[in-house]
């Protein structure tokens, strides 16, 4: 009996115009999005490689360790083809310097804002918006529509179990909706292989998890459609109700969560944060300037009563000591500024984490949020993308700074210089010879790697949430349908 219902439902769906429409729309959308994603990814890779070469060339042309310029780039990932997430919004590169904090700048959308107007439609968007709508379209009249047309009464005039009927309906609709999803997805993966995009085993594992996640998400909307259809007598009413729930779930709740969290945990803007950092920096340098002036006054005081020759000799003897002393002070100031920046940043980061926690806890009331968050986590284009890169770039900056300082010390040049005026001739001593340096020893930046297991582990909560939503909708449907008035 169950297989008869499944066959009937599947046949009914496949022969319906809405199946044809779904299949055609899904195929066009998914293949187009994968194709555009591939092209975008290839451009990102080309740009990434070109930028890396420019940085290496710059380093090769540096004439001293104190003027080696370094920039680290965010590595493109093939997963951005399927879930662009924050890829287009987060900066692509950051300057790596002892004196500046790491900051990812020049996001793809900031470079080419025209594409931000009509944002890239990726696979996750298609599933989240389009397929969930189709799921509603397939199910809004699944039960009450059959009541209205009389086929429910005709079917149950036979020796038919309600559970078999409902299971058959669910499996049939599920298969009818998963087919238009899986076939274009497989074609899309074929396209990825045709374009020779290298996918690691981790990428394949993440893609499989993403497909599983999409199927779970669609299953929820099928369950929701069946639930509302079994709770109402009229298909027009159930469609209206489902549309309201869909808009709330997909459009309103996720945004409301973020807005509410923003009100509960206010965070200073980047401009405010930078203003605070700049103010501290100025105050610290002003303080250093005063201390430096005072020190020079004390040094001058030591030379009081000396003849010009004695002064000159005293200066010659003390000059490098004083320079090193000043340099150490300057470094201390720099260190204080860096520490303060980090402290402010850490404070902001902690507030951001709290804000995210509140926003996501609220947003996860909607399965659309759970799906979106899990999809981005699986693809590695999630909310932590920026932090992950900036953290790893900060670690790299420390490593790079230590290396440069070591090299400067080895070469006897710490970046300082002396200007001498002897007999009217001005000469500058930078403490080393101007010559090419061996940049092959410069430590290379390695992008942070998130394994498929780790991303699956991070998204397991959202998988669980979707599972709970599915159980609730199907449980509700079973309870409701067991009492459903067939008339």
């Amino acid at each position: 009996m169950l297989s008869l219902f499944i066959q009937k439902e599947l046949k009914n769906i496949i022969q319906s115009p809405k199946f044809t429409a779904t299949f055609v729309v899904c195929t066009i959308l998914i293949l187009t999005s994968v194709f555009i994603g591939i092209k975008e990814y290839q451009n990102s890779v080309i740009q990434y490689e070109a930028n890396r070469q420019i940085v290496q060339e710059d380093a090769r042309q540096a004439t001293g360790w104190n003027n080696v310029r370094n920039i680290s780039h965010r590595t493109p990932t093939p997963m951005q083809i399927f879930v662009s997430g924050l890829h287009f919004d987060v900066g692509r590169l950051s300057r790596i310097s002892t004196f500046d904090d790491v900051k990812l700048t020049r996001s793809p959308y900031s470079d080419e804002p025209i594409f931000a107007i009509f944002r890239f439609i990726d696979f996750a968007f298609i599933v989240q918006i389009v397929l969930s709508l189709f799921a509603i379209l397939f199910t809004y009249d699944a039960i009450n529509g059959e009541r209205e047309s009389g086929t429910l009464k005709l079917a149950f005039a036979n020796s038919v179990s309600r559970i078999d009927y409902l299971m058959g309906k669910f499996i049939g609709i599920w298969a009818g909706l998963v087919i238009p999803l899986l076939i274009p997805v497989l074609l899309g993966l074929l396209l990825v292989m045709v374009f020779k995009i290298e996918l690691t085993p981790d990428d394949w594992a993440s893609i499989s998890s993403l497909i599983g996640l999409s199927v779970l998400y669609i299953t929820f909307f099928i369950g929701l459609g069946l639930l509302v259809s079994s709770l109402t007598r009229n298909s027009a009413l159930s469609f209206l109700l489902l549309l309201v729930i869909w808009i709330s779930s997909v459009m309103i709740i996720p945004r409301a969560g973020v807005i509410a969290a923003g009100q509960i945990v206010p965070i200073e803007s980047v401009a405010q944060l930078e203003a605070k950092q700049a103010a501290f920096q100025k105050a610290r340098w002003d303080e250093w300037s005063e201390q430096s002036s005072e020190r020079w006054r004390e040094r001058s005081a030591q030379m009081e009563g000396m003849t010009d020759e004695e002064r000159q000799e005293f200066r010659d003897n003390k000059e490098w000591e004083w320079l090193e002393e000043d340099d150490a002070d300057r470094k201390q100031v720099q260190q204080d500024i860096t520490d303060n920046n980090r402290r402010l940043l850490e404070d902001t980061m902690n507030k951001k984490k709290e804000q995210e926690r509140i926003a996501f806890s609220f947003a996860r009331v909607s399965p659309a949020s759970s799906f979106r968050l899990a999809a981005m986590t699986l693809a590695g284009t999630d909310i932590n993308l920026k932090n992950r890169y900036e953290e790893s770039m900060r670690e790299y900056r420390d490593e790079f700074s230590s290396f440069i300082q070591k090299k400067q010390a080895e070469s006897g040049n710490r970046g300082g210089f002396r200007i001498s005026i002897v007999n009217g001739n001005v000469s500058m001593d930078t403490g080393r010879e101007n010559s090419a340096i061996d940049t092959s020893e410069i430590p290379q930046y390695t992008a942070p790697v998130v394994t498929a297991n780790a991303s699956l582990g991070s998204s397991i909560f959202d998988f669980g949430m979707l599972g709970i939503f599915i159980i609730l909708t199907f449980g509700g449907t079973f309870v409701s349908f067991l009492k459903y008035d067939m008339r």
């Binding site: 008869l4 319906s16 086929t151 005709l154 005039a157 008339r487």
Partner: protein
């Protein structure tokens, strides 16, 4: 009436059947009726008289407040799955699945009725018997007229081959030709020994083919006449008077007697 039916076990029986809805409306009040093999029992009555409620109780779509409904001796509300094996149903407005062809619809509902031993020839024979043109067999139902859909519905009932058949206003909305064909077919099924319980507004057809006619008003079976008792009676007049509520069983008998004078 098939004379052999007289001493046979009832195929459908309503025993003191009552239904009071949650809003207090009494839809059925102590209904008693029996349909034996080879008999057609027509329930006449206006809207809300209790005809469809009776059929819904037989199909276990609603539970009676008291009393019992039996199909082939099985309590339709206590053992509904078992009882429904012995009954076929044709509704007032057969819709079926509009994206399925007639054949696909017949195949699905026949299998649902527990008959998976048929092949296409059997389906074609049933559809031909109900008068559907062969060119329509593989056409989608969405292009069918009501009459054609009704024919498919009766074909499904024929193929289920159950001893009892429930018909809920089967000729409603049919044109005279289709109505006549339908009536002829019902008669044939009766002659094959099926027991048929039919709700209808059509007093003429009810009189033409029924072995028993019961008139329901506000859930009460106000009168029950056999075919022989209806001979020479103006059923339409009788029906209207019962519906108007100014005739009881004794005056009805008088009227009946006067009609014979």
């Amino acid at each position: 009436m098939n004379m052999e039916a007289i001493n046979q076990t009832p195929l459908m029986e309503a025993r003191n059947l009552s239904k009071v809805y949650e809003d207090g409306v009494r839809a059925l009040d102590e209904l008693n009726l029996i349909v034996k093999p080879g008999e057609i029992f027509s329930m006449l009555g206006g809207n809300g008289a209790g005809k469809t409620t009776t059929i819904n109780i037989f199909l276990d779509f609603i539970q009676p407040s008291s009393g019992n409904a039996f199909i082939n001796g099985i309590d339709a509300n206590e053992q509904p799955l078992e009882a429904k094996k012995h009954v076929a149903f044709v509704s007032e407005n057969v819709q079926l699945y509009p994206n399925f062809t007639a054949m696909q619809n017949i195949d699905f509902f026949t299998r649902l009725g527990g008959r998976s031993d048929y092949n296409r020839n059997d389906y074609e024979a049933a559809l031909t018997r109900v008068g559907l043109q062969s060119s329509a067999f593989d056409k989608k139902l969405k292009d069918f007229s009501k009459g054609m859909r009704q024919k498919c519905g009766i074909a499904i009932a024929i193929l289920k081959d159950s001893p009892a058949i429930l018909l809920d206003e089967p000729t409603s909305g049919l044109d005279p030709k289709a109505g006549r064909e339908f009536t002829k077919l019902i008669g044939e099924l009766r002659d094959e020994g099926k027991g048929i319980l039919m709700s209808t507004h059509d007093v003429f057809r009810a009189k033409e083919i029924s072995d028993h006619v019961g008139i329901l008003n506000n859930g009460v079976l106000v009168t029950h006449r056999t075919r022989s008792e209806l001979t020479g009676v103006n059923l339409e007049e009788l029906y209207v008077e019962y519906m108007a509520g100014y005739m009881d069983e004794s005056t009805a008998t008088l009227t009946n007697d006067l009609d014979h004078v």
